[in-house]
């Protein structure tokens, strides 16, 4: 029983902290949480992930508004509305509205998650290999169309990701004969390039390094502003939450798309730059953001497919703990996994709200003063996590050296967004297996 409370508190505070820190995205959050995740059973790892990422999204907008920093693309709408908010002393109001919007937008998806998962599991069509291929192809499609890079570069990155995923001794430990690819007969290459290295080096490290020497004079950001009397934009919040619910299912870009699309749609309803319109747009975007974080779990829980990088880190951990989608019989104190997930998400939302609302000035001030040091500590924690993951399979030197190489590549090519490569890396194996099964089915 103590495990669940430790998970709940750790995940919420890790997430809150990561969201408030400029530069710590969800992937870096999951990587720095790896030492904790390795200790937990797979079901608690999933609950940890859901709560941590939700808390990070919750507090991420606070970071964007107060620091003016874009930790993740999901906070872009908050950043876009920042000038108006600061100019008109709406910081406290924005915080309150985004907090309420986030809680509201969690409630609908949380309530829908249980029947949605049941529905998915009852419909055999969704478990079929053809459907898995369809999901894979849509991930590839979204990766190619990923806006941060040119289409040609995206194709190249996805192909490189698939290629990297095939390095090593494939199918070792199954009943099939292992297939060797680019191991050069070196035993340390049998393991292949580890996931933690690819995501940590190419995604998390460049983001942390980008903000490592960032300085912000918090004196310029007045926090002691009164709450303004504006009605909470309930309809905007519901619209955003529902939109997030569906965009969360879109691979790779679902969460980013959700918040940005909700913000743009709300601009149609509230095009002006006044207090009410700005708050409506912001609340809708934040609601979509939090809503999508919950539905992003559906493909993982039903098919065992991760569709965003942070979730890929989670999947790689739970796979080592013998987890299979839909197979969980885990229960605690008479409640099953889904019931604890719902309780966890609701409680963590309330903790986030209370902490952000009450201690935001204190936390922001402390983070602002120690940002540089904290970022450096995060780099160290991440390196320690890589070392720890390496020691789990007796390959410490290989893990650390490949992590350094990938980090150097990520930092050197900082203008390239490596998400398509990471997605390609992650679906490489599943794609290969799916095609193989389909050749048996139709071949």
């Amino acid at each position: 029983m103590i495990e669940i409370f430790v998970t709940l508190l750790t995940a919420t505070f890790f997430g809150l902290f990561a969201g408030l820190m400029p530069g710590i995205g969800s992937s870096a959050l999951m990587l720095t949480s790896l030492p904790v995740l390795f200790l937990l059973p797979p079901e608690l790892c999933i609950i940890f992930y859901a709560m941590a990422v939700q808390s990070a999204q919750f507090s991420g907008s606070v970071s964007a508004i107060n620091f003016g920093m874009l930790g993740e693309l999901t906070s872009y709408p908050a950043l876009a509305e920042r000038q108006y908010i600061l100019k008109n002393n709406l910081q406290q109001t924005a915080l309150k509205f985004t907090a309420i919007g986030s809680i509201l937008s969690c409630i609908i998806p949380i309530l829908m998650l249980y029947p949605l998962l049941n529905w998915f599991q009852q419909h055999s069509l969704i478990l079929r290999t053809e459907f898995t291929l369809l999901v894979m192809l849509s991930i590839l499609g979204f990766c190619v169309l990923y806006k941060s890079n040119t289409k040609t570069l995206n194709v190249l990155l996805v192909s490189m990701g698939i290629l990297i995923s095939q390095i090593g001794l494939q199918n070792p430990g199954t009943e099939s004969e292992p297939r060797e690819f680019l191991t050069f007969d070196l035993p340390f290459m049998y393991q292949g390039i580890p996931m933690i290295v690819v995501i940590g080096g190419l995604i998390a490290m460049p983001l942390i390094v980008k903000y490592i020497n960032w300085k912000q004079d918090l004196g310029n950001v007045p926090m002691n502003v009164p709450l303004q009397k504006i009605n909470f934009p309930l309809l905007s919040s519901i619209r955003g939450g529902l939109l997030g619910l569906f965009t969360g299912l879109i691979p790779a870009v679902g969460t980013v798309l959700g918040s940005n699309l909700a913000w743009k749609i709300e601009k149609i309803f509230f095009p002006r730059d006044d207090h009410r319109s700005v708050m409506a747009r912001l609340t809708s975007a934040e609601s979509a953001n939090n809503g999508s974080q919950i539905t992003v779990l559906v493909p993982l829980l039903v098919l065992g497919i991760a569709i965003v990088p942070s979730e890929m880190i989670l999947l790689s951990v739970i796979k080592t703990k013998s987890w299979m989608p839909g197979e969980s019989t885990w229960a605690m104190a008479g409640l099953d996994f889904y019931q604890w997930l719902i309780i966890g998400l609701v409680v963590s939302s309330l903790i986030c709200y209370a902490v952000c609302y009450t201690f935001i000035k204190l936390i922001s001030g402390w983070l602002g003063r120690n940002l540089n040091l904290i970022n450096k500590i995060c780099v160290l924690i991440m390196a320690a996590a890589v070392l720890y993951a390496g020691s789990m399979v007796e390959a410490r030197i290989f893990f650390i050296s490949t992590f350094l190489i990938f980090s150097a590549v990520g930092i050197y090519f900082k203008r390239v967004d490596f998400i398509p490569l990471v997605a390609g890396y992650f679906i490489g194996d599943i794609l290969y297996e799916t095609i193989e099964v389909l050749t048996f089915l139709y071949g």
């Binding site: 001794l169 070792p172 430990g173 292992p178």
Partner: protein, 291 residues
């Protein structure tokens, strides 16, 4: 005097050599080369925990890469135990190839028969003559040969579909992608009356499951899901350590709780001598390639 010193020195060296091979510290590495999701890793985890309870200082890791563990078996200078599987020994070119001998073999810890079963949750399922059934099997083995002969024998057709592991076979069954499976699961469900199994690589008929050997005329060597332990040189050369370890492993696999876990997984340990176990394991490895 010189001669005396030489004799004493020789005796001292001999004594220390003998003593070193009989002195030991109960410290052991147990590395799992099989994938973490399977039965093999699960039972090795149980054994590692039980060894710890018996005072062993265990370094237990699920490496999930038999090639890497094989390399460690060759290079590690500390005592290392590893769970092995007959399918790893299909060819010498295989990076996981490690033929067990009496020196490094420490016995079978699990063996599961492969069963031809119908859909989960449908105990009323019947095989109808003339029909074609999609059947899920584990990838990379020669199950198709046995299944084709079985199909001929009972007047049906099997469309064999290979999956990565039994977890994926189960999901394919849920998805109605396959009608039947030929894998190591299903015995408990069959006994509980929630699934119907028809044939299996059993030595004798059990719960109305017919041994394939009774039905097929060719002298097949039927593959079972068999897990066994092998050790590195540092372990088997320390005779006292190996003896103590074998004693403890034998005690663990004789525990009622262990037997119950085996039964729940539809597995057993063949009641034969260690020499026969080794022959059985090697014959199983051969069976993967010579059917």
């Amino acid at each position: 005097m010189k001669k005396m010193t030489l004799i004493l020195a020789t005796i001292a060296i001999m004594l220390s050599t003998v003593a070193s091979s009989f002195s030991f510290e109960k410290k052991l590495s147990l590395y799992v080369g099989s994938s973490s999701g399977g039965q093999l890793a699960a039972f090795q985890t149980i054994i590692s925990k039980e060894l710890e309870n018996r005072g062993w200082d265990m370094d237990f890791k699920i490496i999930s890469n038999c090639g890497q563990v094989n390399e460690m078996l060759k290079t590690m200078d500390k005592p290392l135990l590893a769970g092995w599987f007959p399918a790893y020994n299909t060819s010498e070119d295989n990076k996981c190839f490690n033929q067990p001998t009496m020196k490094n073999f420490l016995g079978i810890y699990l063996s599961s028969p492969r069963l031809v079963c119908g859909p989960m949750g449908k105990p009323e399922f019947k095989i109808v003559k003339g029909n074609t059934y999609a059947i899920g099997v584990n990838r990379g083995q020669s199950h198709e040969i046995i299944l084709t002969d079985l199909a001929k024998e009972i007047g049906i057709t099997f469309k064999v579909i290979e999956y990565k592991n039994s977890g994926f076979i189960k999901r394919a069954m849920q998805a109605k992608e396959i009608d039947m499976w030929y894998t190591t699961g299903g015995l408990l469900e069959h006994q509980n009356g929630t699934q119907k199994c028809f044939y299996g690589t059993l030595l004798e008929e059990k719960d109305r499951i017919i041994p394939l050997s009774d039905l097929l005329s060719k002298p097949y060597v039927y593959t079972l899901g068999t897990g066994y332990f092998i050790s590195n040189e540092a372990l088997y050369k320390n005779k006292a350590l190996k003896k103590e370890l074998e004693k403890d492993i034998n005690e663990i696999i004789a525990l009622d709780s262990y037997k119950e876990s085996l039964r729940a997984g539809g597995a057993f340990i063949p009641n034969i001598s260690k020499e026969e176990q080794l022959d059985f394991v090697n014959a199983n490895a051969l069976a993967y390639v010579t059917q």
